[in-house]
């Protein structure tokens, strides 16, 4: 196994770890904002690590640049959509007070200002 392949294996596995961590957060975190945080972390960091890991395998320069561009677009879109979702949740919380949980139709906790919450 060459150095490049070992590099790829390590970084892709690291990326996969963040995706799994993000998934666990999505399933286990108590409220919507925390789940959103877990999800965007996984997208940004996990995908970034996978892309870094795949760089030695990609053709230079266009294959590698496409991979990096993919990651940049994912970061931009993921971040922006997470902001929009969080904004919508905040707006509804402001309007409806503690009716958030009922209106969302989910088991989201009324407290929406929480940062990343602890697992249940």
């Amino acid at each position: 196994m060459s150095v490049a392949d070992a590099f790829t294996a390590i970084f892709v596995l690291l990326g996969a770890f963040f995706f799994i961590a993000g998934w666990v957060g999505l399933v286990r975190f108590p409220d919507t904002l925390s789940r959103l945080h877990a999800l965007s972390k996984a997208d940004n960091l996990g995908l970034g690590l996978v892309v870094v890991g795949l760089l030695p395998q990609a053709s230079w320069p266009f294959g590698a640049l496409k991979l990096v561009a993919l990651w940049l677009v994912a970061v931009l879109v993921g971040g922006a959509t997470a902001q929009m979702l969080a904004g919508a949740i905040q707006a509804r919380a402001g309007e409806a007070g503690d009716r958030v949980a009922a209106a969302a139709g989910t088991d989201a906790a009324p407290a929406v200002d929480d940062g990343p919450g602890a697992p249940r």
């Binding site: 196994m1 931009l76 879109v77 902001q83 929009m84 139709g105």
Partner: protein, 331 residues
């Protein structure tokens, strides 16, 4: 990596197939419209990955752009328009049983058909490969779509134009000549405006690239047009632009230019070449490129207008969910 014990690639397909099955079951079981639509969009993306695994990148691109993206957006606006009833009544048991039995029946029939196919299944791959050189296209899918089965492709583009006309005819008489307002969802958030400023230039390149590369690689007018349409919808959602009014002449030209050019070149083929929709020798590639370019434009315009919805008067939009909390007081 020859000396590295990689698992069989097939193993990666097992979770994918399981995810498709579980999501499909959940989609038929859930009674919340919006959740079902979002799940359906995710299902389209999973199906796209399945198509990649089956080696059909062209189909995967179409599924991701149309089945996953635009279809999801259309269904989402439809679900928002209908409004979500909090107390959806549970359907009666016989109805649910009937739906379940019918779903199971369709699935079993499809499975039986697929499994009963001889291997390899009867196909025209050899015929396409033998004649592909005549079209000067490197992508066999493109050769089939634009040359060997050009009638189907032309009718498809006509159907798309007709779909826009049908959608427009759903507008109220008084609203005729107004612009569509389905995407007027109140003041956009700063994040959406940032996305609306940064993504469209990139999407423009990707859309045109998908059309251009479609001659020799996976891609084509439909996929490219869908990306361009998505960028237009994003601009309209972010309020950086407005959908054109239905009376706009240039828009109408944009809708019909693709099918019209296709039809005209096809008719000319009946005279110059030997048949309707045949291309004269030597002019094949330029004519195909011309048709595909016009078709990309028409697909983009038609899909974007389908998302934009029917013409509406500038009345305050009905409250639909959290996004329409403050009716967009435009005009």
């Amino acid at each position: 990596m020859p000396d590295f014990p990689l698992p069989v690639p097939l193993w990666a397909d097992i979770p994918l197939a399981l995810a498709l099955l579980v999501l499909a079951l959940w989609l038929t079981a859930t009674r919340r419209d919006r959740a079902a639509v979002i799940g359906f969009t995710g299902y389209g993306l999973l199906a796209a990955i399945a198509w990649v695994r089956l080696g059909s990148v062209d189909v995967a691109l179409t599924e991701a752009a149309l089945g996953g993206g635009l279809m999801g957006l259309l269904l989402l606006t439809a679900a928002a328009r209908l409004g979500e009833r909090a107390d959806q009544p549970r359907p009666a048991m016989p109805v649910r049983l009937l739906v379940g039995v019918l779903c199971l029946g369709v699935t079993l029939a499809l499975a039986a058909v697929v499994l009963s196919l001889p291997a390899p299944a009867p196909n025209l791959v050899a015929a396409v490969a033998a004649n592909q050189a005549a079209t000067e296209l490197g992508n066999p899918v493109a050769a089939v779509l634009i040359a060997f089965r050009a009638v189907d492709t032309m009718l498809e583009s006509v159907v798309l134009a007709l779909a826009v006309i049908v959608l427009w005819s759903f507008g109220a008489d008084r609203a005729w000549g107004a612009r569509p307002r389905t995407l007027d969802l109140g003041p956009p958030s700063p994040a959406l405006m940032l996305l609306g400023r940064l993504l469209p230039p990139l999407g423009l390149i990707v859309g045109v690239h998908l059309f251009w590369t479609g001659a020799d690689h996976p891609g084509g007018p439909f996929q490219g047009g869908a990306v361009l349409a998505a960028m237009a919808a994003l601009l309209w959602l972010a309020r950086l632009g407005e959908p054109p009014p239905v009376s706009d002449g240039l828009t109408r030209v944009g809708i019909v230019i693709g099918p019209l050019l296709f039809l005209l070149i096809g008719l000319a083929g009946a005279v110059i070449a030997d048949a309707f929709l045949a291309y004269p020798e030597g002019l094949t590639k330029p004519l195909i490129l011309l048709i595909e370019a016009a078709k990309t434009l028409s697909v983009a315009v038609a899909l974007a207008l389908l998302v934009a919805g029917p013409p509406e008067l500038p009345a305050p939009a009905p409250a639909r969910g959290e996004t329409a909390a403050e009716p967009g007081g435009t005009v």
